[in-house]
Subunit: 407 residues, 2 copies
């Protein structure tokens, strides 16, 4: 089908032309409403009028940045990568990825499960809501999606075939390369720097050690093809409630370094922890966040190693090549490397959110300017520390201990 | 055009159907002769009968391993990658890559410059022939092909577009993964181990430190997409004379780690050096080889850095991001990493040639068994040393000094 932009008037006939969706609804009477909060894409809820619980999400990419308008072109093929990633991740760990009922790469459309009992996690964390199972859920999500798309699980041709499906996602990768690893640490028109932290921003622009470390992380992001990443795994990409966690919006998906998704999630937890010094001042909530960071990472590591020990044959690990102490030694080094890299990427993600385009609401929506600046400075100090020292980290508690000593 | 296998009777009409080739020869009277030494492919020389200097090479891949016959299937799409790599490398550094006059991916055919005044470098080195400009030539070839296909030169979408052209070359990558990094160091039916070095082979199979280091190199080969590699850059892939050096046969081309091609070349020079203790016992020739290793690497490094300093803007290096001492510090670390990795890969290449399928003629064709075994043991000892210690190497003379102290 040739691409055209759907609007509310065209959506119903489009959906009813698709057998599986017509039978899902079981009625011709549908109602469509747009969800206003898509930054990049148009997102609609479609419901059966008579049975409102019978509802789906339809998401369509347009050839520009939705939030900015047609003057900001962005190729709609980003939806192709989102569809492929959703389908792969759903097959690997369906309990944390929405079901895809229909996908149409030519139309840049995906139709998926409507998560009506969940909210965006960032909003929940701003309100200091505890999610008791989140760490377990996301530790498992990370272990399964990363391990099972890596050379530790796939055979070599399988991995390259999967890589071929994502190697074209260069436009969104280039956005990350610019806005996470580069622009925030130099004079750049896109930066959004709070005047109250200009001195700190300037110090970072002049810090060669920081920039050398940042280049190392950027190089790794660009050239290390460990596994299929979500590519933008912050708390705004998680739909959650007390019992369930779903990862959405993987349009930045590509084959990159193991630590990038893990680091992104840790960074967003750390920024929430920072923000609550100024917001709730709820020490129990902050303790829960630190505990969550540790449990999340430990769950990831344990599950990743469990999957590895179960997998006797893969591209990297020919059955019988190495066993016992030798294998344990290799695994120890391998996991150490993932930990360090995760903390380095977490640092980059924290820094960029204070200086670059697209800050996080946790901090940027603190109303009182001095209060907001305190949070920004604290976050920047943590991020800088991580970027400059991640190669000396040994366990996830090196991070949480460091945070506990900050105030 | 649908694929069919050319033979001597069909080649002339095939060539004359192509405008550029018909006008190249300027005559209908052509003669065809097969070159017998292709392992993977069929290779023919085509000449104008009246003007024998007017000659070209036609190379066609068949859907099996030519040397082993139709019982050993190997997809003919390997020629697609050879064609693409030849064209890219020729555009980057034409003086060291044959001209491609015609390429036909559908027919798995390439037609290229006939190097009638050159021989395969391995054969020259077996005869202790000195090639005075080889180090300069290949240092430059490596610098240009690696730098200009990396994130230090290309913009991010350009690099991913180029990667997409090679990500399908999984069959040949898998051969390297198995036969360079895995099979030689375990019990494997494909190994070809001289009974006189069985004790050394067994020791290696039981050496966990060696295997952990080898896994690190294998992982890097599989997941580090620094630059477009030749993928099989040994002295049998170089056509040479006293004045010119050409790199041929890049069917293993893919995006991999910087050090792999460099290491392959160093490994083959080291093995020639080893072999001449048993062959010529020509110490001057051996000194030339060690000098060549050092000059080759230093030329590569100097040229790579020169290209880098010329390039102010690339995917990695946004103009103005870092300059002066900061840039110099990053470059120093970067080049150190390439050196170390090159020596690690050199070690892997040396070891596999002693134990696995496809040894090198330099050593395996030494007729006297004790003499051959001495060379194999010496090579294995060097290779093992490199694999286990490459991370502590600082300059290329760390290798040449180590070799000088061996006898």
């Amino acid at each position: 089908m040739a691409y055209y932009i759907l609007d509310e008037s065209k959506i119903i006939s489009y959906l009813l032309s698709i057998d599986t969706l017509r039978s899902f609804f079981g009625t011709q009477k549908l109602e469509v409403s747009e969800i206003g909060d898509g930054n990049l894409n148009f997102v609609y809820i479609v419901r059966a009028v008579d049975v409102p619980k019978r509802a789906l999400i339809l998401k369509q990419a347009v050839p520009y940045l939705r939030i900015a308008g047609e003057g900001y072109p962005l190729s709609r093929e980003r939806m192709t990568y989102e569809i492929r990633s959703l389908q792969i991740h759903n097959a690997l760990i369906s309990e944390h990825v929405p079901d895809v009922l229909y996908a149409d790469e030519a139309m840049s459309v995906v139709v998926m499960q409507y998560l009506d009992e969940h909210i965006i996690m960032r909003n929940g964390m701003i309100d200091a809501v505890i999610y008791p199972d989140f760490a377990e859920h996301m530790g498992k999500f990370l272990a399964h999606t990363l391990f099972k798309t890596s050379s530790l699980y796939l055979e070599s041709p399988e991995k390259r075939t999967m890589m071929a499906q994502f190697v074209g996602n260069s436009e969104l990768c280039a956005l990350t390369e610019t806005f996470v690893f580069t622009a925030p640490y130099m004079e750049h028109e896109t930066n959004e720097i709070d005047p109250l932290i200009e001195a700190e921003a300037k110090a970072l622009r002049e810090d060669d050690d920081f920039k050398v470390a940042m280049l190392g992380l950027k190089y790794r992001f660009m050239n290390q093809s460990d596994a299929l990443l979500h590519g933008d795994l912050h708390t705004g990409s998680i739909m959650i409630n007390a019992k369930e966690s779903y990862v959405i919006d993987p349009e930045f998906a590509f084959f990159g370094p193991f630590g990038f998704d893990i680091g992104a999630l840790i960074a967003n937890l750390v920024m929430s922890w920072v923000s609550h010094f100024e917001r709730s001042q709820d020490r129990d909530y902050q303790s829960w966040i630190l505990e969550t960071i540790a449990v999340l990472y430990e769950k990831f590591e344990k599950e990743f190693l469990r999957l590895w020990c179960e997998r006797e044959q893969s591209a990297l690990m020919e059955k019988g090549f190495i066993e016992g102490d030798g294998l344990a030694k290799y695994q120890e080094r391998f996991m150490q490397d993932i930990l360090q890299e995760s903390l380095g990427f977490a640092g980059a993600k924290i820094c960029r959110r204070q200086l670059g385009i697209a800050g996080v609401a946790d901090i940027r929506s603190i109303e009182e300017p001095e209060s907001r600046a305190r949070a920004e400075k604290m976050a920047l100090s943590i991020g800088t520390h991580l970027v400059k020292t991640y190669r000396s980290m040994r366990t996830i508690t090196d991070l949480t201990d460091y945070l506990k000593e900050m105030r």
